[in-house]
Symmetry: C2
């Protein structure tokens, strides 16, 4: 427990990719790592044992959603989020600022926090930065996120500037409200696409001192070049010795690209959501399994893939299950996609360790790289 | 392969329960056995490896549904139904007479067979008894069912009599159309609730000689006493040396009750469908996981249960997943229910083997027994 929060940089080059070991109360996360998304407390369609087998070491959940349903007191009564999920590895939760703003009705944001109506039961709720910390502490998560104000890419400059100030103030208040020493707390850099605002945001958070730093407000509708430009500029503003989390990113190519810049943690709904929709990640690109061309194709989704799906089912079989809306189709597609993502992360880490990054990752990523 | 169709009665008492071993092209089924339902080629929410772990030895699929989607030629192109399903154990298919009559629009049944409109694409189709055999042979199943005319419990006496004659004629035509020697073919006894018609039906089928005999037309809306009465009367009409399959039955108590009469095979959607709806089978009865009383209950669904669900999740956690409509909730409930059913079947077999039937099964079945 005394190691909680420690981040060992096993290998790192200035401005380049890093191999790290992040110590949490529920184990060590080897970075760069991808976090499968378990918004409501489950990675949709995947058992905890399967997650382990796939190579997941940490999952992402969402404090706002869990606070709405089943409720913080219920999670606590059930032994905390790890027990609820049947997952004894590390859990990072987003505070839910993003979800409140994108899902809630009648949102009102001011300097004190967020007022919203629950998307579950319509009840009025209030989320202050202190509440966000209290909720995440009650859930018993390993890594908590500060409450932030996340704006769409189209936000006006004054709104961006105000969000930067607010996010910094909220981060300070959350930091002050923290009581658990076994929970890491990350600050979130905002600032839209404006380099000056990003600099201001990062400086403010770094001065406060967090266990790690997230870069938020990307993948919110901006052009891909902007994502890369801002991500690159921002990572340079973050302290070398703390983990860096690029929120909501991304495609397999993004994982390689941003790991190369020195980001350590990633999350994205793509492998799971796309899986449920019948879109499979392969080294040759996206495979839309609903396409009639796959109906009688007895090859696996990906030749040579070692995942459960590819070793047990043909493309034609998977297509049938998806077309017939069998739950198993969504499960199998999700398993394959997570295998693709987590194998890619393994290749990224192995490449950095062996000095063969990015070649090894590019090879594993195929056309995505 | 030369053993295909062999049925060894390991232990049997006249008019009582039997312990058997049914040899198929994909392995031996120890009976009495329960067949999880995989109508469209998957047991909803369950991976083939999980089915094995749960103790399933044979699954039930549906020739009519598979013929509609993905189509017989597609299944054949994909290597047959076993390959499609990723399941290398025995598969029994219902011919689909029941489904055609219950699902199809504009059904017309005459002595030549069934005319229907597909419930999938509305296309007109024709299912003659010979077609039913050809389809099941093309799918490559281990045990095929003859096409039968299955009527609701409310059917008039003359309709029942006509269905008995027709089912016998269709069974004869199917038997004549069979070409595969590695596929067992069962006849289906009809006759509604009329003992004379059941006698007539069984006699007609036994004279033709099938690899096994199914009792159909029960669990179609009749009173429970009628089910038991007809099932008991009919089993006495079937040859001792061949397997007997009671179609669509039933509750855990039914499994014990009808195994005690000498039935060998069972199938039912209850464990899987109820699981998806949040109804769990326990020794104490049905547990409706959506009930608010379970919200903060940290006990497993069933104390002492060795299934994956009960060893990893609390009632409260499962309730949350079900209420949040997470796929994992349906998966976990299904796993538990199948574990309950298959453990009960194991207890039935062990009890017969050890001379402790029904005591051991009654103990395992709890209030269901």
């Amino acid at each position: 427990m005394r190691d909680v929060g420690r981040f060992d940089l096993v290998r790192a080059s200035p401005g380049g990719p890093r191999l790290g070991r992040l110590h949490t109360a529920h184990g060590v996360v080897e970075t760069p790592a991808f976090m499968p998304v378990a918004t409501h407390g489950s990675v949709k369609g995947v058992l905890p044992d399967q997650l382990r087998t796939l190579g997941a070491t940490i999952v992402l959940s969402n404090a706002y959603h869990l606070a709405q349903r089943p409720g913080v007191e219920t999670v606590r009564a059930l032994g905390g989020l790890h027990t609820l999920m049947g997952w004894d590895g590390p859990i990072l939760t987003d505070s839910g600022g993003f979800q409140v703003m994108s899902l809630g009705d009648l949102i009102k944001v001011d300097d004190t926090g967020v007022q919203y109506r629950s998307h579950v039961d319509g009840r009025a709720g209030r989320l202050r930065p202190e509440d966000a910390i209290a909720v995440q502490e009650a859930l018993g998560v390993d890594i908590a996120m500060s409450l932030d104000e996340c704006l769409p890419a189209s936000a006006a400059p004054d709104a961006v500037a105000r969000a930067v100030t607010r996010t910094r103030d909220w981060a300070a208040r959350g930091l002050g409200a923290r009581t658990r020493t076994d929970m890491l707390l990350f600050g979130i850099v905002q600032g839209g696409l404006d380099p000056d605002q990003r600099t201001l945001s990062a400086a403010g958070l770094c001065a406060l001192g967090f266990d790690g730093y997230a870069v938020g407000g990307l993948s919110v509708g901006e052009a891909r070049e902007d994502t890369a430009r801002v991500a690159a500029a921002t990572v340079a503003l973050l302290p070398r010795e703390r983990p860096r989390y690029l929120m909501g990113v991304g495609t397999p190519g993004d994982l390689i690209r941003f790991a190369a810049m020195g980001y350590d943690l990633f999350d994205c709904v793509l492998p799971t959501r796309n899986g449920r929709n019948g879109t499979l990640f392969t080294r040759q690109g996206k495979l839309m399994i609903r396409n009639a061309a796959h109906a009688r194709d007895s090859r696996p989704v990906e030749e040579g893939c070692a995942c459960y799906t590819c070793t047990h089912f043909s493309r034609g079989a998977l297509r049938h299950l998806v077309m017939a809306r069998e739950m198993l189709g969504a499960q199998l597609a999700t398993l394959h996609n997570l295998h693709f993502y987590l194998t890619l992360m393994h290749a990224i880490r192995a490449g950095i360790a062996e000095g063969s990054f990015p070649e090894r990752a590019l090879e594993t990523g195929g056309v995505w790289a």
